[in-house]
């Protein structure tokens, strides 16, 4: 095991502009999670650099990275990752505990209001639906008004109607100017972004801007591929047509 070097990411050169809504797709092991962790300053690249808002973050120390995560980045996870024993409000307060400003509940109240859950502030995650939990998680992610929101399969554990509600929240946040990077398996989620990136084997193989006309086309193409895959389950070699985004294949990243 130890003597083979695995490049989770290989030669990725990506620039995301402020206010952009980017979706990243790709099969398990394609490197999208690694890319996400790097962008979220949870991981450091073994080589290469990462800049965030003009600041070279790949050179920062642990302490500084923690501050970047706290102030500039918000995370949303597939499994929500809420702390079950405390209320929605307390969950949203967590990032504020690590902010070196005087502690106030006000930002948490505002964030919960933004996701429409202020009335449920005192409820615990176990008393809420999956969609509500994810909205609490989004409130937690935006409580410190980050410039970048990273969402890792945010709709992966939700049904399509709830997923749509979550996407509405993302659209609303995007309208407020937050940059959003969303990792997903689902084409109909991915096409809602302004820019779609597809990854395979640690490389970006597809990077397209999506406009409204484009969107329908991509969706129908994806559905065709999906149907085709059902008819011929073992197809899909290296000569697959571009943008073969398989729905719900493999495990989550």
């Amino acid at each position: 095991m130890g003597d083979s070097v695995v490049h989770a990411l290989d030669g990725v050169d990506l620039e995301i502009r402020q206010g952009d809504f980017v979706s990243i797709t790709g099969a398990s092991g394609s490197g999208k999670s690694t890319l996400m962790h790097l962008m979220g300053c949870l991981d450091r690249p073994t080589s290469g650099t990462l800049e965030l808002g003009g600041e070279l973050v790949s050179g920062l120390n642990d302490r500084q990275l923690a501050e970047v995560r706290n102030q500039k980045i918000g995370f949303v996870f597939q499994t929500f990752n809420l702390i079950n024993r405390t209320s929605a409000m307390d969950n949203v307060l967590v990032p504020l505990m690590y902010t070196r400003k005087s502690f106030s509940r006000e930002p948490a109240r505002k964030a919960l209001e933004k996701v429409g859950l202020l009335k449920r502030a005192r409820h615990r995650p176990s008393e809420m639906s999956g969609g509500e939990c994810q909205r609490v998680a989004i409130a937690r992610a935006i409580v410190n008004s980050p410039s970048l929101l990273l969402a890792d399969e945010p709709t992966g554990n939700l049904d399509s109607r709830t997923s749509e509600q979550i996407m509405q929240v993302f659209h609303q946040l995007r309208a407020e100017g937050i940059t959003i990077v969303l990792v997903t398996h689902e084409t109909d989620i991915a096409v809602q972004a302004d820019r779609m990136i597809h990854m395979r084997d640690g490389k970006i193989v597809e990077d397209i801007r999506v406009d409204d006309g484009h969107r329908e086309e991509i969706l129908s193409q994806a559905h065709d591929t999906h149907r085709q895959r059902i008819r011929q389950p073992l197809s899909g070699g290296p000569d697959r047509p571009p943008l073969t985004i398989a729905r719900k294949t493999g495990t989550t990243s």
């Binding site: 949870l42 923690a66 706290n70 505990m97 502690f103």
Partner: protein, 403 residues
């Protein structure tokens, strides 16, 4: 506010697993409880015994029969004679104020159908003065009583009460072991004098006790009162010199008597108490170590269980130091709660013991409460540091994936 939030968070975590948290504290509760209870008992006993020593008076030299080593065995030697007391007083009248030779026996005291079992003390007229022990009715035994081996007795407060109730006792005749004695006085209520419960004692003239009553040659002990407590050391020397001379002990041979002062008794007792303390502290220390291991175990489980939570906290901006602080706070709180509970339990245990046994007196010094809590805090930090470091070192990416 920030620290308060950490404490609130920690308390919530503990409440979530209330039973587990309580089980984790039990080691510390028992450890601290044991320390507090042990110290309370020891301290109470020490106070009790020290007040008994104090009641002996700082100006007294107590002389007991000696012991000698014979073929690796320590044997009691009978050596003190009534004449020794007179000799000591006579030869050292510049230093010795008074002496009271004592012979202690036991007896059954009867007044018609009423009777009491009590120690019978044969002594001389100086006994009351040396101990500042007063009569409340009648008089104490006199020089004439001793010289004439009179059949008179002075009753302790409790004995008088048992035999006569509220009625006057003086001039009544009681029987001690079948022999008739005339009651000449009743003593004040005093409780204990040294290790004797004098309220339950009957005093008769020394000569009567040794001759007519018990037929003994040797004294039980001899009390010498020095003119000045500051001259006690030289007084001791002189008492020893006189006794060695009258017992004809050759130079180089050991004394056939033992001399004690209140101070020496206190010191000797202090040494014994110290040994007890060491043993008790060691036992308590072991249970605290066990408690610390218990807390460490629970903390390790807690860190593993909350791996994802730790990942999230790091993702939203917690520094490693913040995570460390959080888990250390939790361990500290468990430990301090255990410590507080232990103090209460130990104190309750000590009170129960003194209540239950009736003879054991306990005293919980305030300092031991602070020491116990401080110890609990240290235990918390020591047992929490390793789990907390483990939590702080977690890789956030791995932690977020942890199932």
């Amino acid at each position: 506010m920030f620290h308060l939030r950490i404490i609130i968070t920690a308390l919530r975590g503990l409440r979530q697993n209330l039973l587990r948290s309580l089980l984790a504290t039990i080691g510390v509760v028992i450890g601290v409880g044991a320390v507090v209870a042990a110290v309370s008992v020891l301290e109470g006993a020490q106070r009790d015994i020290l007040t008994r020593f104090e009641s002996l008076g700082a100006d007294q030299v107590m002389v007991f029969n000696g012991s000698e080593r014979r073929q690796h065995r320590v044997q009691q030697v009978q050596s003190l004679l009534p004449d020794d007391a007179r000799e000591i007083e006579h030869e050292n009248n510049d230093l010795v104020k008074a002496t009271a030779a004592q012979y202690q026996g036991g007896g059954q005291i009867k007044y018609f159908e009423r009777n009491a079992v009590a120690p019978v003390l044969g002594t001389t007229e100086a006994y009351a003065d040396i101990n500042s022990y007063q009569v409340v009715e009648g008089r104490f035994i006199t020089r004439q009583d001793v010289a004439g081996s009179s059949m008179v007795c002075v009753l302790g407060h409790k004995v008088a009460g048992e035999l006569f109730g509220e009625l006057p006792a003086v001039d009544k005749t009681v029987k001690i072991n079948g022999k008739s004695f005339s009651v000449v006085g009743v003593m004040e209520e005093r409780g204990t004098l040294g290790f004797t419960e004098v309220d339950n004692q009957v005093v008769i003239p020394l000569t009567t006790a040794m001759g007519r009553m018990f037929g003994q040659r040797y004294l039980t002990m001899l009390v010498v009162q020095c003119v000045d407590p500051r001259k006690l050391p030289s007084c001791i020397e002189r008492v020893k010199k006189t006794l060695r001379a009258s017992h004809r002990i050759r130079a180089g041979d050991e004394d056939d008597f033992t001399v004690f002062t209140q101070e020496q008794m206190k010191q000797q007792f202090g040494q014994i108490a110290q040994i007890f303390a060491i043993v008790l502290y060691s036992i308590a220390g072991i249970s605290i170590v066990v408690g610390a291991i218990g807390i460490m175990n629970i903390m390790l489980v807690s860190v593993t269980e909350r791996t994802r939570e730790i990942g999230v906290r790091i993702a939203v901006g917690a520094r490693r130091f913040d995570i460390l602080k959080q888990f250390l706070t939790e361990a500290g709180i468990i430990s301090l709660l255990g410590g507080s509970l232990g103090v209460v339990c130990g104190w309750a245990m000590a009170n129960f013991l003194s209540e239950f046994t009736q003879v054991l007196q306990t005293h919980t010094p305030r300092s031991i409460i602070y020491i116990a809590l401080f110890m609990a805090g240290v235990v918390g930090i020591i047992s929490g540091i390793y789990p907390a470091i483990r939590a702080a070192r977690l890789d956030p990416v791995q932690a977020l994936r942890y199932e």
